[in-house]
């Protein structure tokens, strides 16, 4: 190695410091993309999570005033954050910095939940901490400090957003699609006087353009890292990535999965109307339309308008795919039997499915990975015990067990969180891990037989370090394959449960409920109610399967099915849903 470039053992930070330009360009581009949507990001951290429960529940249990408990919690979270940052500042421990940032976020969210001066105080505190961290980082010439300061700054900005909303690019306020058609002046209300269908399509196109830009930028970030900052010219992972890039079936799966995720994450701006306005509380919202008879505008509650736009198999009163209802509202997928907008319902339902799927997978993936590593490392009794426990769980028919659990826990407080979504996610997590564990057990046992594991053991490396450093990277890929298949299965099973009337409770949207609602109208003009959600499930699940196939072929070109195919079949079909 020459003297000018950093040595091969230099940490990433030093390599970036030696040649900061590509990294800075990438970070600047990323910051721009982030800034465009920061308002939405802050909103999604604050509003869907019941932060107030953090102090209201214990306060209720102890019989103390909620506000006081909240302030105590807020203060302690802030102190923990301070200790974390101080520890990082003195010792450079990244874990302390991460913990500090997390408790700072909790403090800010608690402040927002408490409202009033608490919000302002804690936001000011967070901004000050960010300033101090960035300042010391720059003064010491440590880019890492600046990054941690940047994270603290983002947390502070979440607080700022709660006080004074920050602008967001992709909102329905910027490109509205609701309005009425004036006989002389054309469309009043939608963006630039375009027809609502066009305005809506424009917004959806923008959302997807933004999402794909973000994806492309992330890919560019990986390439920048690979070209400029990675020490090795080649790693086995490069081959996997290349194999995946030439696997068209897998790429198809990836693109569709990505579009599904965007559909779920950007559900509020993508829908032609909002869940709150159209589905949850239609009678608390009003709508202006052009009244032909009166020759002027009139208002009506959304609920009453929905009564007029219902699709229930009557050829004279049906709002089908890509049609307007009589109040000039545009329905890309038509309306439900109740007259609510199916597209909005689907987008919100995708969110629910994705939340359940990811939480359940995170849980069961973690259990499966830890168990696979431990049983492969120690073998013997540990392995036998795990086999018995997982076989026992697998011997209970999966879908029936899930139905049973969701009925048994239906009356508890768990089922109230997120309309039962959290409970379902926990149930899926608890019943899915044996399948994932089975899938990674083979690879884990294989890697545990390797010489380098023996070598690590013989020089006295602690077991958990060996597992983390030398075994885990090998099984992660296999876990990803099964996770992808399982996510498709969870989407099917969630829909099946809401089809049966258990699981996610009404009125929270869930795809299976739309299928169930429209089942009597399949042979009528209102065929869209059941058919569209079903086709979307088929496409999304096929895509998850395709993505899994692509990843499998990328990490292990020799394998082709076989092995644990039966488990795979059960998880991928949602246990028979």
């Amino acid at each position: 190695m020459s003297d000018t470039s950093p040595s091969e053992d230099a940490p990433l930070v030093d390599r970036i410091a030696a040649n900061p330009r590509p990294a800075l360009v990438w970070v600047a581009g990323f910051a721009v993309l982030l800034a465009l949507e920061f308002g939405a990001l802050a909103e999604s951290l604050t509003s869907p999570v019941p932060w107030a429960d953090l102090y209201e529940r214990p306060a209720g249990a102890l019989g103390l005033p909620a506000g006081a408990v909240g302030f105590v919690l807020l203060a302690s979270a802030a102190v923990v954050a301070g200790i974390g940052f101080a520890h990082y500042w003195r010792e450079g421990s990244l874990r302390a910095a991460g913990g500090g940032a997390l408790s700072l976020l909790v403090a800010v969210e608690l402040g927002i939940a408490l409202g009033g001066n608490a919000t302002i105080a804690v936001t000011a505190l967070a901004l000050l901490a960010a300033l101090a961290l960035v300042g010391t980082g720059v003064a010491r010439g440590s880019p890492r400090g600046a990054v941690i300061g940047g994270i603290a700054l983002l947390v502070g900005l979440v607080g700022v957003h709660a006080i004074q909303p920050l602008p967001t690019l992709l909102t329905r306020e910027l490109i509205p699609n609701q309005g009425y058609e004036h006989p002389d002046r054309g469309w009043v209300g939608p963006f630039l006087g375009l027809p609502p269908a066009v305005a809506w399509a424009l917004r959806v196109a923008l959302v997807y353009a933004y999402a794909f830009a973000l994806l492309a930028w992330a890919w560019r970030g990986y390439n920048v890292f690979r070209e400029h900052y990675r020490y090795a010219d080649w790693t086995p992972r490069d081959d996997m990535v290349d194999r995946f890039r030439n696997h068209y079936w897998g790429l198809f799966g990836f693109v569709v999965v990505f579009m599904f995720v965007v559909f779920a994450v950007f559900a509020p701006p993508i829908g032609p109307t909002t869940v709150e306005r159209n589905i949850m509380n239609p009678y608390s919202h009003e709508l202006t339309y052009w009244d032909e008879a009166a020759g002027g505008t009139a208002t009506i509650t959304v609920g009453d308008a929905n009564l007029g736009s219902s699709s229930a198999g009557n050829p004279d009163r049906n709002v089908g795919v890509m049609q307007y209802d009589e109040y000039d509202r545009f329905h890309p997928f038509g309306t439900l039997v109740s007259g609510k907008d199916l597209f909005t319902f689907m987008a919100a339902g995708a969110r629910v499915s994705l939340f359940i799927g990811i939480l359940a997978l995170g849980m069961s993936g973690l259990i499966a990975a830890v168990l696979a590593l431990v049983t492969a490392y120690y073998k013997g009794v540990a392995d036998l015990l795990a086999v018995i426990v997982s076989d026992s769980i697998q011997s209970l028919p999966r879908l029936l067990l899930i139905i049973l659990l969701s009925v048994v826990f239906a009356e508890t407080w768990l089922s109230e969180v997120y309309s039962g979504g959290l409970l379902l996610a926990l149930i899926f997590g608890a019943t899915t891990w044996p399948f994932l564990w089975r899938a990674v057990r083979g690879p884990a046992l294989q890697v545990s037989e390797q010489e380098w594991i023996d070598a690590a053991r013989s020089f006295g490396q602690r077991p958990h370090v060996t597992m983390k450093k030398h075994m885990a990277p090998y099984i992660i890929g296999y876990l990803l394959v099964y996770a992808s298949l399982t996510l498709g299965g969870i989407i099917i099973a969630t829909a099946a449960l809401s089809f049966l009337g258990v699981g996610v409770s009404a009125p929270t949207p869930e795809w299976g409920r739309a299928v169930s609602d429209g089942r009597s109208y399949i042979a009528t003009v209102s065929w869209h109610i059941s058919t569209i959600p079903g086709i979307l499930v088929v496409i999304v699940v096929t895509a998850f399967n395709a993505f899994g196939d692509g990843v499998r072929d990328a990490i292990d070109p020799q394998s082709a099915g076989g092995g644990d195919a039966a488990d795979e079949a059960v998880v991928a079909a949602g246990g028979g849903g």
Partner: protein, 345 residues
């Protein structure tokens, strides 16, 4: 370890699995947040009735005593009785009453999956990368991703009374409606199918036609899986060295396919076929609910939603036994078909 040693080990392992699986059921039912007695009584129960049921079920005893009672009675096949669905009826009788329709449904769905999925998969594997292979593979992939409940209601919609093919379906063969349970009266005396074919075969055909749509739905996921795995298995064996040797020796293609490819390609299909049992039991709840077939899945779902927890426990135990037996069967088939078993694992 020898082949039979391996099998014996799997057999022994099944014992703790059944015990532990039943224990999980017990914990969910008795230690869970749902009180079985109030579930049975519903919101309008008097305290006297409550105490009576509690005593009758033995719920006033400590949990560990309940556990021993629960396990002992299940493992001696004393399945208790139903409390809500059909009060004071033995669970045993209920199961006997509901099981035949589920068995009929499961039998045909396994058969459809086997006799459509595997031949299609083998055909695709023997003609790889042809248009018919692509068509079959793509069909299998999409077919596999279709949720049972959706496929079921689409079929009901298309073949039902008001559907586009409703009339055609009703008049096809014996007249039947798509919704409703099949009439399995001829089962009471199966020998009559041979002795008096004129009287019984129409009944048989009617029952078969009645169950066919439900069986297609229930077999759908397995059919797709069998196709996919069958295709890869054939592709793998046909490119192996021993097949090449056979071809070089001049063994005719027909005998290569049947003797060398087919048998070996069956091995990876065994777990798929036995794994169908899992999909069948789960799927039967949905399919039987949609098609209005009062079988075991329907019974289980009604028992759960109506709070008949004692019956739920008994049914769960039966399902566990069934699945464990199927698993043992899978190991048995493995031991017979694949001589390498026990050596490589």
């Amino acid at each position: 370890m020898s082949r039979w040693g391996y099998f014996l080990r799997r057999l022994l392992l099944a014992v703790p699995v059944v015990i532990f699986g039943t224990t999980i059921t017990f914990l969910i039912l008795r230690a869970g947040p749902l009180d079985p007695v109030s579930a049975i009584l519903g919101p309008t129960g008097s305290p006297q009735a409550y105490n009576r049921i509690q005593e009758n079920l033995g719920l006033n005893k400590p949990l560990w005593e309940q556990y021993i009672d629960f396990m002992v009675s299940l493992f001696t096949f004393d399945l208790g009785q139903s409390w809500v669905i059909n009060p004071d009826t033995d669970a045993y009788d209920l199961i006997l009453l509901f099981a035949p329709r589920t068995i009929w449904l499961g039998f045909w769905s396994v058969l459809i999956a086997l006799f459509v999925g595997i031949p299609l998969g083998f055909y695709a594997g023997l003609h790889p990368n042809t248009p018919s292979d692509y068509l079959a593979s793509f069909g299998g992939i999409v077919w596999r991703a279709m949720p049972n409940f959706w496929l079921a209601i689409i079929l009901v919609g298309a073949l039902g009374l008001s559907g586009p093919f409703g009339g055609a379906w009703i008049n096809l063969g014996p007249q039947t409606n798509i919704i409703g349970p099949p009439d399995l009266g001829f089962f009471s005396d199966p020998l009559r199918l041979l002795t008096a074919p004129g009287d019984t075969w129409p009944d048989f055909l009617a029952a078969l036609k009645k169950i066919a749509p439900a069986a297609v739905v229930l077999g759908s996921a397995s059919m797709g899986n069998e196709m996919r795995i069958g295709r890869t298995a054939v592709l793998e064996t046909i490119n192996s060295n021993y097949v090449e040797t056979a071809r070089a020796k001049g063994v005719p293609r027909r005998s290569i396919v049947w003797k060398h490819v087919f048998r070996n390609a069956l091995i990876p299909l065994v777990p798929i076929i036995t794994g169908e049992a899992f999909l069948l039991i789960g799927g039967s709840v949905i399919v039987e609910t949609v098609f209005g077939i009062n079988g075991l899945g329907y019974l289980f779902f009604q028992a759960i939603t109506q709070g008949d927890l004692p019956l739920v426990g008994s049914l769960m135990f039966i399902f566990i036994l069934l699945l464990v037996v199927v698993n043992i069967l899978q190991d048995f088939l493995y031991t017979i078909i694949d001589p390498r078993v026990g050596y490589e694992r």
